[in-house]
């Protein structure tokens, strides 16, 4: 692999890694929101008695 090809691969890997990290962050946020919705639903049920 030539030097130019190594830098080319590095650029594409950096972009791919960034997108994957971003998707992972979004997934974690979604999981947190789901937990909060469940918790709030339970609290609402408790209040209703």
């Amino acid at each position: 692999m030539s030097s130019g090809e190594k830098y080319l691969a590095a650029v594409y890997l950096v972009v791919l890694a960034t997108v994957l990290v971003y998707v992972a962050i979004i997934s974690a946020k979604l999981a947190r929101l789901e937990r909060e919705v469940t918790e709030l639903a339970e609290r609402a049920r408790e209040r209703r008695g």
Binding site: S2, S3, G4, E5, Y7, L8, A10, V11, Y12, V14, V15, T18, V19, Y22, I26, K29, L30, L33, E36, V37, L40, R43, A44, R47
Partner: protein, 219 residues
């Protein structure tokens, strides 16, 4: 939109790596162009979109534009970071340096990026409410002035090594290269649009849940 983004982006990458002709001067590293330039243009588009939403907020007073402007600036900062990183790698292989302070295009993009990075410091240093929304909107609008300056800097520069691809005579590349570039740009814009909508939906849901929590605690 997510499916369209994935399809167009993968097509763009495939065209860039397998189909587009190799540049005679730069060799394989020129293919970084198909990622770096669309990312940079997408960053400009996100900052521009954020400024447009900021203008709508100031014009109408509708607070929903605050979150939309903030999310667009957030996306612009991510794409701006990628522009700096991919550009730096390309500079290393083409010019032999990671960064050149003599290049107005690079320095102005860095200033634009740092300006919008400071947006978050300003925003989170202010108490939540209409005042913060207005000040953030004014700041986001000021930043948009830097976009045309940054974009045109390369054409105003006298001594530059940063290449000029789009001139008044049209794109200085073959039809195959231009087509690949357009597909990559479309893919990147669709990706930004998808991420923007997801981020915005998440932030809106977060706010609604906070309101709901407060209502339950008060009620």
């Amino acid at each position: 939109m997510a499916v369209a983004a994935a399809v167009v982006l993968v097509t763009g990458v495939a065209l860039a790596l397998l189909w587009a002709p190799e540049d005679a001067d730069q060799g394989p590293s020129q293919r970084i162009f198909y990622l770096h330039v669309p990312i940079a243009l997408t960053a400009y588009a996100c900052f521009g979109w954020g400024a447009w939403k900021a203008l709508r907020l100031l014009w109408t007073g509708d607070q929903r534009y605050d979150l939309e402007s903030y999310t667009a600036v957030h996306m612009g900062t991510i794409f701006g970071t990628l522009t700096l990183v991919t550009g730096s790698i390309w500079a290393r292989t083409s010019w032999g340096v990671w960064w050149s302070w003599g290049e107005r295009q690079l320095v102005l993009f860095l200033i634009l990026f740092l300006f919008y990075a400071a947006y978050f410091m300003l925003r989170f240093s202010l108490p939540d409410g209409p005042g913060r929304a207005r000040i953030s909107a004014v700041y986001a609008l000021f930043g948009v002035v830097l976009i045309p300056i940054s974009f045109l800097a390369i054409r105003l520069a006298e001594n530059f090594i940063h290449p000029v691809v789009f001139t008044r005579d049209g794109p200085q590349m073959s039809g195959d290269m231009f087509f690949t570039f357009c597909v990559s740009l479309a893919g990147m814009l669709l990706l930004a649009g998808t991420l923007y909508l997801n981020e915005l939906a998440g932030k809106r849901l977060d706010l609604r849940l906070r309101d709901l929590r407060e209502s339950l605690e008060l009620g």
